[in-house]
């Protein structure tokens, strides 16, 4: 899995050189932020089910497409919402927080997804809205420390940016 450390070392190795001063600075910067990232990762891991549910509920309540896409006679259980994709991206965001880079999202979540969403006309608008909601409602110190929140929001923005 790609991280700042593996990227720096891979580039140095490819050129047969030692890491440069600026290489080490970027690694240093990455390590300095690791405590905040790990705090965010821990909070997200503990609360992801609630985070996903809240984001999904708000979006589906505001834009109840699943309910109307069904046909008469569907019971409330039948139209229970499917949050699979939101949870999938939250898990990838968690990995990014741990590794300190966007590698997990790039490798699994994002590349290729744009084309699939466009070709199959999948409803990215609902997902984007869910991530924007999560980003905007999360608050420090209630959910996590301010620096942890900054890290979490950065990856939420990364997903919003890449899916839209």
């Amino acid at each position: 899995m790609k991280s700042v450390v593996t990227t720096v070392l891979a580039a140095a190795d490819a050129a047969g050189r030692f890491p440069s001063g600026s290489d080490l600075e970027s690694v240093q910067g990455n390590i300095q932020r690791s405590a905040a990232r790990l705090e965010a990762a821990e909070k997200l891991a503990a609360g992801h089910a609630a985070v996903v549910k809240e984001a999904g509920d708000v979006v589906f309540k505001k834009y109840p497409y699943l309910k109307s896409a069904g046909e008469a006679g569907d019971s409330a259980e039948k139209v229970a919402k499917c949050y699979r994709d939101i949870d999938h991206y939250m898990r990838l965001i968690n990995y990014c927080l741990v590794v300190g880079g966007t590698g997990p999202l790039d490798e699994w979540g994002i590349s290729g997804a744009r084309e699939v969403y466009r070709a199959l006309n999948l409803p990215t608008a609902a997902y984007v809205a869910a991530f924007q909601y999560t980003r905007d409602r999360a608050c420090a110190p209630r959910d996590m420390g301010p620096q942890a929140l900054t890290e979490f929001r950065a990856y939420l923005d990364y997903v919003i940016n890449a899916l839209s």
């Binding site: 505001k62 834009y63 109840p64 497409y65 699943l66 109307s68 896409a69 069904g70 046909e71 569907d74 039948k78 139209v79 229970a80 919402k81 499917c82 949050y83 699979r84 999938h88 699994w108 590349s111 290729g112 997804a113 744009r114 084309e115 699939v116 466009r118 070709a119 199959l120 006309n121 999948l122 409803p123 990215t124 608008a125 609902a126 984007v128 809205a129 924007q132 909601y133 980003r135 905007d136 923005d157 919003i160 940016n161 890449a162 839209s164």
Partner: protein, 428 residues
């Protein structure tokens, strides 16, 4: 065009969507409202809606929440094929936001364009760093811009498989040299799921009908395989490039979708425990799901109750696992779960559409003649895959009436299948 998700915000009127699109970001209740409005206006191609979309594209404010609105507005204008939007969309090609550039390139391809200046501008993007080369290459090929062929060919060796396969495809389309298209086939077995999904699109764009049996065996979701095979059949049967009889066995295999029909790209070092395998059914890489399915069939024939437990706990609400569990309940002939399978056959949630075909096949496996009426009722559906699956299931259950009904179907593939069933002796 696939449109089951187009109108996902039915409560949102055209009037309100236009109003939202003109509302400054800081006056919105939610950051997502303008983005959703830009997506939703695809349902209302009026002059006023198009004006609002054009204004949104021209709003160059740089915060992310506005940038994504611009991209979505460009995409919507592309879907609506609004010719008068071309100047505004072309102005996006030089934007710093490379996703906006990508959507602009795609939209130009949708709208159509033979202005050499614009096509040259698109081609020049190939020399610019950090661009969505795959989309740009696809657009140039779609628009038939042959002067770009040499510059596209440089990407055939790209380390990014989706870019390399798009370049091979584009060179084949632009030069008319089909011999090189064979190089696309190995991508169907690439370890990266995006490479596998991407190359199916490339084979569709190439109209490479010879690839149909290989697409059928590619370990990605049946949705992608059926989309590819159906596109090639629609293009190739009328021209005589391929016959329905040649396509039929591939279609049957993908609709039945037993993992033994697939060429797996993953393998296990040791046989996982059943719980681990069931967890794999929730993976977003269907290649892994199919390997888990085959392993459960081979090593855990009594997995039925554990699968039902997983379905009750989570699978009922996960469109991936839902599909694989329904399939497995059929393969394992776990008749106690009949109600789950019948429920899946009638599930109307849009993301669970493929589970309905899965359920038809699984019911045939369960060999329960009580379901004939359920299967017949699905022959009225607008989903051709479901009708095709029902025909296979009904044949398996030795019911000839389904094929008689389907002889009049509006969909030519369903009709062709029904005709084959009526003329050929029953397979079982």
């Amino acid at each position: 065009m696939e449109n089951r998700f187009l109108n996902i915000f039915p409560g949102l009127s055209e009037e309100r969507a236009i109003e939202l699109l003109y509302t400054p970001m800081d006056q919105l209740e939610d950051a997502s409202e303008r983005y959703i409005a830009a997506a939703h206006l695809v349902n209302f191609p009026s002059a006023r809606a198009i004006d609002a979309l054009l204004a949104a594209v021209e709003n160059g404010d740089s915060p992310l929440d506005n940038r994504i609105v611009r991209r979505k507005a460009v995409e919507t204008l592309g879907r609506l094929k609004v010719e008068r939007s071309l100047p505004v969309i072309c102005a996006c090609l030089q934007d710093e936001d490379h996703y906006l550039v990508e959507n602009a390139a795609w939209a130009i391809g949708e709208i159509g364009c033979n202005d050499p200046e614009i096509l040259e501008e698109l081609t020049a993007l190939l020399a610019k760093p950090r661009q969505s080369y795959r989309t740009i290459i696809q657009t140039l090929a779609k628009l038939g811009y042959t002067p770009a062929t040499g510059r596209i060919a440089a990407f055939e060796q790209s380390p990014e498989p989706p870019i390399a396969s798009a370049a091979i495809t584009a060179v084949g389309r632009l030069s008319g040299e089909r011999a090189g298209l064979e190089r696309l086939l190995p991508f169907l077995q690439h370890p990266n799921v995006n490479a596998r999904r991407g190359v199916i699109q490339d084979l569709m764009d190439s109209e490479y009908c010879e690839a149909i049996p290989r697409i059928a065996a590619c370990p990605v979701s049946a949705v992608f395989r059926l989309r590819g095979i159906r596109h090639l059949a629609d293009a190739g049967v009328p021209t005589g490039a391929v016959s329905f009889e040649q396509v039929e066995s591939s279609l049957d295999r993908v609709i039945v979708d037993h993992p033994r029909f697939l060429e797996p790209v993953h393998r296990y070092e040791r046989t996982p425990r059943l719980e681990e395998l069931i967890e794999e059914l929730y993976s977003t890489d269907f290649g892994r799901c199919y390997l888990a399915t085959q392993t459960i069939i081979d090593y855990y024939p009594d997995a039925g109750p554990a699968l039902v437990a997983s379905f009750e706990a989570a699978g009922h609400n996960d469109y991936g696992a839902h599909y694989h569990i329904v399939k497995l309940l059929g393969w394992l002939r776990f008749g106690e779960a009949r109600e789950i399978v019948v429920g899946a056959l009638h599930d109307r949630r849009p993301q669970f559409m493929k589970s309905r075909s899965a359920a038809a096949v699984a019911l045939a496996e369960l060999g329960d003649a009580r379901v004939l009426a359920d299967l017949h009722s699905c022959l009225d559906s607008f989903i051709w895959e479901l009708k095709y699956a029902c025909l296979i299931a009904l044949e398996h259950l030795e019911d000839p009436t389904g094929a008689q009904i389907a002889l009049q179907d509006a969909d030519w593939v369903v009709r062709a299948k029904a005709e084959r069933q009526c003329t050929a002796p029953l397979a079982h």
